[in-house]
């Protein structure tokens, strides 16, 4: 390899493609170093905000610009409009979690700086995952996302539940990482490369998948990705981990991790032969059923949202199954998944954020019992939570409805009508538990012994974040043109 090869490798396009990642990485380092100096809380917050804004701006620039860098670094990383859109979604997800975490740890505010560094690092990991066209790059992105989350899940070390969540997530995540590596090694042994583009050519894909070793490898890879997006049968960890983690971190897990894993899964679709579409659809439907039925019996809203997150992963997987089966509309599944996840990030991010606000000075504020009568005590918060519940349920005029409609229409276009019908019916089941939250908030009086929700004033960052979420959900539901045009 000589100088000219290096020059093509490290071209301007490569730097342009990696610019959002550089912004996040440099920002995370700056925040880390800033912890050494006696800077005020505000100065540090500005640094985090600037980092996220810079990354978002670079991604938006790529979205609106005339040309995109495309495949760079010898085809191991891609930066196009899709990954730029994912990048924007990630920064929104991390930004929301960060804003809601501002006053969450009031009683134990130490290590706030490291908390922010870990959040920024996880954003970097997500962007790396979304752009990865190579299994090594993806794996490092996955770990860069997961390791900060393990620590963040156990961030409240003095709470047994938080430590339990961190440990459970870590142990299972470590196994999933092991499966991923082993699967990659098997694929490498057969194909001689870790790049995804070997699967792009049907002939070479068929040849690779002839080997049982590669099949085992693809199965292991799929399993570890299913773990991250919490799809049946790898969903059992979700309720405990979501319930035990600090609520803003749960929001990040529910939105960011899932979005990043789906971003890659859509890229990796190339590796799946169309014969797998039926089993994918069945897995998707089982996931939806388990998630929705599990959510119905929950009393804790955080746990309920965990189960509902499982169901939502099932919906997106159904869209992916449709794409594998052969969606006649080019890129339809990618667009549907992008829109769905964008709406989900705003909705679930906002819902977990509002729960975090209610929770912070009472332990068990997140039960249905605790939400009773919230409409009278905190009308604005209750209204925001109502919008989120309606969007999660997929009621028209919210982003959630349009997302669901787009995903199901992928399945319909791929002629998987029965699966789509069952999926829609399962979504109706979901209304049962989302409406229970709304009923508890607006139509029920607080019981004698039900704990009173916080009466503290809500800090500015959280107010801004919840308002932004509501606005996003409604804009995506009522005027989705801009989003659709740029996807």
């Amino acid at each position: 390899m000589n100088a000219s090869v290096l020059k093509t490798l490290f071209s301007d396009a490569a730097y342009a493609a990696l610019a959002p990642l550089f912004a996040l990485g440099i920002g995370a380092l700056a925040v880390l170093v800033a912890g050494l100096f006696p800077l005020g809380k505000v100065a540090r917050a500005v640094l985090v905000l600037l980092t996220l804004l810079a990354a978002a701006a670079l991604n938006v620039g790529m979205l609106l610009g005339d040309s995109v860098p495309g495949l760079v670094l010898d085809g191991t990383f891609v930066a196009d409009r899709t990954t730029a859109m994912w990048g924007v979604i990630f920064t929104i997800g991390v930004g929301l979690a960060w804003l809601f975490s501002r006053h969450y740890y009031d009683e134990d505010a130490s290590h706030q700086n490291e908390h922010d560094v870990l959040m920024l690092a996880s954003a970097l990991g997500m962007s790396l995952m979304a752009g990865a066209r190579d299994l090594i790059v993806f794996f490092i992105g996955l770990e860069l996302l997961s390791i900060p989350l393990y620590a963040l899940a156990a961030f409240r070390r003095n709470r047994a539940k938080s430590v339990e969540a961190g440990l459970k997530y870590f142990l299972l995540g470590a196994f999933a990482a092991g499966f991923f590596l082993y699967g990659s090694a098997l694929i490498y042994a057969v194909s001689g490369t870790l790049k995804l583009d070997v699967f792009a050519d049907p002939a070479s894909r068929a040849k690779i998948l002839e080997s049982p070793m590669a099949l085992v490898g693809v199965a292991m890879l799929t399993g570890s990705l299913f773990f991250k997006i919490s799809v049946f049968p790898f969903h059992l960890w979700v309720p405990d981990v979501y319930e035990g983690s600090p609520t803003p971190v749960t929001g990040l897990m529910a939105t960011g991790t899932k979005a990043a894993a789906f971003a890659f899964l859509l890229n990796a679709l190339l590796a799946l032969p169309s014969s797998t579409s039926t089993s994918l659809a069945i897995i998707a439907l089982i996931t939806m059923a388990l998630g929705n039925l599990g959510a119905l019996v929950q009393q804790d809203v955080k746990r309920m949202l965990a189960y509902s997150g499982i169901a939502h992963a099932g919906v997106v997987l159904l869209g992916i199954a449709g794409a594998v089966a052969g969606d006649p509309k080019q890129g339809g599944a990618v667009q549907a998944a992008l829109f769905y996840m964008a709406a989900y990030v705003a909705t679930a991010g906002g819902a977990f954020g509002v729960l975090a606000l209610l929770e912070r000075d009472g332990e068990r504020m997140t039960t249905l019992e605790g939400l009773k009568g919230l409409g009278q005590r905190r009308p604005y918060l209750a209204a925001a939570l109502t919008v989120f519940m309606l969007s999660l349920a997929g009621i028209p005029a919210t982003g959630g409805f349009l997302g669901k409609w787009m995903v199901f229409s992928v399945a319909v276009r791929a002629e998987m009508i029965p699966a789509a019908v069952v999926g829609v019916l399962l979504s109706v089941v979901a209304l049962g538990y989302y409406l229970r939250v709304i009923i508890a908030m607006w139509m029920q009086e607080p019981g004698e012994d039900s704990p009173l929700a916080s009466t503290r004033a809500i800090a500015l960052p959280a107010t801004l974040a919840s308002a932004a979420c509501v606005a996003l959900v409604l804009v995506m539901g009522l005027a989705p043109r801009w989003f659709l045009d740029h996807m």
Binding site: V117, V137, L144, I147, R157, V190
Partner: protein
Amino acid sequence: MSELLFYAMAVIALLGGLGVIFSKSPMGSVLSLLGSFFALAVIYLLAGFHFMAAVQILVYAGAIMVLFLFVIMLLNLGGMGTRFELSAAPLTRARSQIAAAVAAGVGLAGLIAVQRASLPRIAQGGAPERIDDINQIAIALFGRYSLPFQAVSVLLLTTMVAVLVLAKRRTRESGQ
């Protein structure tokens, strides 16, 4: 001769792996793992990967195992001995035996499947370039793999921060 050596080393590596699981004391586990690593290094040598063999010894046996030993000795885990019992509710003896049986069955089925099917040779890309040459490794690392290489450095730093957050004694907490 070299075939004999390979099988001997493979058996040692396997025995080492089993020793990690079945040893009663953490110290015994660590030393078994060390034996397994050395056996693997010899297998690498036999396959002609001299650099990898050296790195295996240096990094795994030299650095990581020493770290393990330090942790065990510093935390004084050496004496814990038989206190590691699988008595927690989800890990009853019967359940772990079922899990082990299922895992072994799946593994065996996989082995048989792989044995029966003819393995296709490397599908494309031809023979891999000679990778066991420090020069080539450096070029690959700083060229084609520069993105993962640099991302790993961020990953390691982040991991350090994460570990510190979890492990450091918090002033507020200790005051309470």
